[in-house]
Symmetry: D2
Amino acid sequence: MIAGVIGAAGYAGAELVRLLAGHPGITGFALASISYEGGRIEHIYPNFLRRIEAALVKPEEVIPRSRVVFAALPHGVGEPFAKACIEKEIPFIDLSADFRFDRDQETFTAWYGKPFVHKELRSYSVYGLPELNRSRIRELAASKKVIIGNPGCYPTGASLGAFPALAKGIAGPGTIIVDSASGVTGGGREPIRSFHYPECADSLAPYKVGAHRHTPEIARNFQAMAARFAGSTQGPAVIFTPHLAPMNRGILSTIYIPLSASWRPKGVPGGAPRPPIKEIEEKAAEIRGVYADFYKAEPFVRVLPAELTAASGRVRQSNFCDISIHVDQAGTTLVAAAAIDNMVKGAAGQAVQNMNIIFGFDETDGLKAVPALF
Amino acid sequence: MIAGVIGAAGYAGAELVRLLAGHPGITGFALASISYEGGRIEHIYPNFLRRIEAALVKPEEVIPRSRVVFAALPHGVGEPFAKACIEKEIPFIDLSADFRFDRDQETFTAWYGKPFVHKELRSYSVYGLPELNRSRIRELAASKKVIIGNPGCYPTGASLGAFPALAKGIAGPGTIIVDSASGVTGGGREPIRSFHYPECADSLAPYKVGAHRHTPEIARNFQAMAARFAGSTQGPAVIFTPHLAPMNRGILSTIYIPLSASWRPKGVPGGAPRPPIKEIEEKAAEIRGVYADFYKAEPFVRVLPAELTAASGRVRQSNFCDISIHVDQAGTTLVAAAAIDNMVKGAAGQAVQNMNIIFGFDETDGLKAVPALF
Amino acid sequence: MIAGVIGAAGYAGAELVRLLAGHPGITGFALASISYEGGRIEHIYPNFLRRIEAALVKPEEVIPRSRVVFAALPHGVGEPFAKACIEKEIPFIDLSADFRFDRDQETFTAWYGKPFVHKELRSYSVYGLPELNRSRIRELAASKKVIIGNPGCYPTGASLGAFPALAKGIAGPGTIIVDSASGVTGGGREPIRSFHYPECADSLAPYKVGAHRHTPEIARNFQAMAARFAGSTQGPAVIFTPHLAPMNRGILSTIYIPLSASWRPKGVPGGAPRPPIKEIEEKAAEIRGVYADFYKAEPFVRVLPAELTAASGRVRQSNFCDISIHVDQAGTTLVAAAAIDNMVKGAAGQAVQNMNIIFGFDETDGLKAVPALF
Amino acid sequence: MIAGVIGAAGYAGAELVRLLAGHPGITGFALASISYEGGRIEHIYPNFLRRIEAALVKPEEVIPRSRVVFAALPHGVGEPFAKACIEKEIPFIDLSADFRFDRDQETFTAWYGKPFVHKELRSYSVYGLPELNRSRIRELAASKKVIIGNPGCYPTGASLGAFPALAKGIAGPGTIIVDSASGVTGGGREPIRSFHYPECADSLAPYKVGAHRHTPEIARNFQAMAARFAGSTQGPAVIFTPHLAPMNRGILSTIYIPLSASWRPKGVPGGAPRPPIKEIEEKAAEIRGVYADFYKAEPFVRVLPAELTAASGRVRQSNFCDISIHVDQAGTTLVAAAAIDNMVKGAAGQAVQNMNIIFGFDETDGLKAVPALF
């Protein structure tokens, strides 16, 4: 089938084309770019030469040719295309934030500064984190009218790293802290000073501390999971700090989750810190078991064995989310580390995964590559 | 005067020689290396050619020639040299952990697996974080018998980032979380797989989660500051997670400190996260002011203005610690980011600063360079 | 069919497993490692978790299980396995230098310091650069006894960059200079000081100048191509300088080829250098056309248009060799730049390409991925 | 004395301020920026906080306050400031190309597309490569009217790497090939796509092949040296290929120089390449000796011993040029590798060196730092 990609010249759009090029169900492309209309994808990214060579047309021309449409556009631009797709019963997978907040226009507007364009489209939309909403995605797909609000990169790793703890009562009351670092592709293709090589190479720094737009998305996901499984009506408070790391791809999130009383290891002495004792290790192993069980049917979540920590380099170019489980030496806090490739599971790969669910492909189609070794 | 460096062939030792080469009070060197005895510093590091060209002698030969002795040795090896220096009234500045815990042999042994060698030397030793112990360093220096336990790299940034909050009652009850990432030089000069270029380039990962030896040092520093200024008998609980980042130098620590009730901004609405409001920004500004005031006489701590976040790249090759102050959008937590160069303020530079204090040099002598711009 | 890989724990072996995992004709693996016998591939490279999980057996156990055997071993170790495969009529694809020199034991011994182990095996071996020897590979494959001497990484890029010039009389008399830079994976997986992150990050340096073992392989390839097409009995002299570049993967070779009299552009003024004139650009375009024509049937060679220069980043993770064609402003020298991924076209990918030729698969099977965009 | 810097907000200008901040003869600054007039240097580069905090004024205001004026401006902009300085007898050190070609307006115009603005200023100007023109710099300084055309980054390394061979008859007839790679700071501070982190990280590529503006400067320098020492009326032909390397700083130039008949090693067998023999090594040692002797009085040129190759990482942050000497295995070509820091010896450091010569400071003042170890 033909895949349409609107916004194919941006990093997420181009990565999507690259992944779809290896998908057994995709036979061709209709590519559009607002900025590069009339150009060709292989001129913008010569990597594509001899693989995908295609003109970039107007967005309007993409929809009639495609059986699925992806949009990798700035926030607030894509709703008209979503509308057109819904009318034609073409699944629409949106990589912007426009459909990530369901009907919650208030939160969207508070953070993104604009109202919904076509409010009514939210009847057909679902937040496309398969590990949270797979059955709803299938339901909408069956109805023929489906819009995917493809998740943000940071929320994907943060959510997957915390979900089992929230669902299974491991998380106790208190704030969850998500400390994340992303590679520079997360900032997109436009050259701006912060991403100029000499400005970011060999340096690490936080940015938008306490003010990043992915915070409400993380909080909403935490709440959704806590509500569904544990019946909580309120999710935990969240503090989220993103950092820019000197690497091309990858997000590593270190997530600090207060342990509920019943999940705290017994027999941990108080006082000055000491190296972790057996009781700590055993509790970590138990939690690791819960995580492994929780994700046992998930094709893209790997709960790592005790001897490994999550590393962004080990999921590079893949749709995996690697999670390692640790308990601090005082036995009060679960420290979960989650690694994803920001451009794959954090953007284009997850979009392909959503397409696979919608069309009943094997969920790993187009996403079977072993993560790059280096 | 002649500076002796035992362990000059390791990264910290060599960086020390590099810094001392630019110190107006140092006229020559006596360099020793256990592994490279008989070699020459400029053969091991050809960077030194035409600047410092010197043979590496036995450690025993260094002491009689030197007016100050630095040791950059593995933990547990340097005490005999410390003893010899004390006997000759030569200041001994130790970059290992041996003298970082004062008389607290129990903690040292729990984490480093060995007892003190010469317990009695602790009468002459002080933990050499000038921002905490400058006056005690001077006292011991005046007594002619002084051993500096030069701080660990992570504890330096973490402590400086939290001190004013602890001293001024900004920190409330609850655990302080220190999330840090270090450049690869922190792992030393020996080639091991984790630091092999293709294994760590383009990747970010935590390591030794909840189990890093710098945890008790951080906790002790927090307690010391809380005790001295605020009269607390007990310091806060600490969770510390180090990460390896794909860069040569630098540590960025993001520190999450629960705000005490009196320091929480008023008028912050509850519920779902929203972008920070004026009340949050004002409280952050107030705390920033406290930090700036606290450090106003410190030559190496820069409390950054509101529009900047700490970045490891901005203190590269310098002895500065940059601190940026943020308050999370719910108003419950101070997020302080602290950046140092792990090899300078985190090791060799701080050792020079300690020497300057001991000998009454200007504290910035040898440490005046503008941080590398790139 | 089952693919056997001896030496699967090294970088080239592991990359081979990664590529074969996506090959439609490979249904399973038999993996061996001399150093890690008894271990598991996914423990050594956790990237493989959930994709390829397999025990590493003894090399002897691999052969009987496999329909094709790859060896990624140190030079001089694999001949006994080659012999065993020939006896069983199993194609043997050797990534070491052992079979790269055909019957020329003298050159092999001069550079690699050892004699051939089983001299007679050279009746069945061919240097596996498909662009040079595809038909001979097919002939041997048809005979059921085939050993591939898979090319070295530097010779692959250098040869492809120079072949059309040699074949079509563009190259005149005089020395060809090959100036190349490689990513650090070229040095293999063993941690040694030169490849320790802080020693090679942010630095570029030549190594083994005039003395690298790939020199005779490059010279032999140049001669072979000159001889076959142009009837030369002697190839050009070659100077080869490798450099280590601070990146994981990729080789960029800049090749300086003296133009033959008939290929020099006319009308170029002498004297001081000036910016290239129309005559230069036109001659470059003409040569580019010859290159494009020469490679028109090659699935993995991309001759770039005038506006692009070859960049190692654009062939990353792919089996492509990108070539850009330039003429110096005095009109005397062809400057060809050739980029490959050292681990793919320079090692594992080329081995897969050879397997595809031997077994009659589509030559791009397992090698269809679009080069990584970043 | 007060140093004026016009163009202080660019990379070269800021690096100059950083170096001058450590110069014992500089007591203050007058800084100007055309783009950031009215701003402050420490806002543009927060690295400067607490070290150099200064407003950026209009260029016109700089001159009256300064005893030396540096200009780090785009080509073709600075001549009016040069004129004003000459009138006031203030030394003017220009980091643009405006004064690099002496009276040769033709070459300048051919490559830079504009005529000289004040042709007559060339009576006072000299190409500021101290190793070539130190005595002329002194002469002009004595006359009180001096303009320095500070050399380009590539020409500096290329020239120093070839000078002794040209001066001493080691270079024979034939083209000299200069193959260079530069760190990304060479492209300046403005964010453009080629220097956007994800576009250049982990990749190496040539650019402007055969067409880079530094070619005529290199050729002129070669000719000047050949003429002065060897009496040649014509310099060698030059081919120059620059590459962009994924690192912040540094240039590594590999220079291929045909050996004159009398400098070719004897007794080198012809035929296929073989590893270098004793005769080759001895000739390399002899040439190395000539280089060492040639530069024995130069404070910033280090001719490396046989066991080292030049590496850009070993001169980082310093004004050194490291040169390693090699002879190819056929004995026809000298391969000299030259490493500089593009921002120091290739720009700001050389400008300081020129100032030191003009004012009679020690030539290493402000430039004594040991190269950064990592």
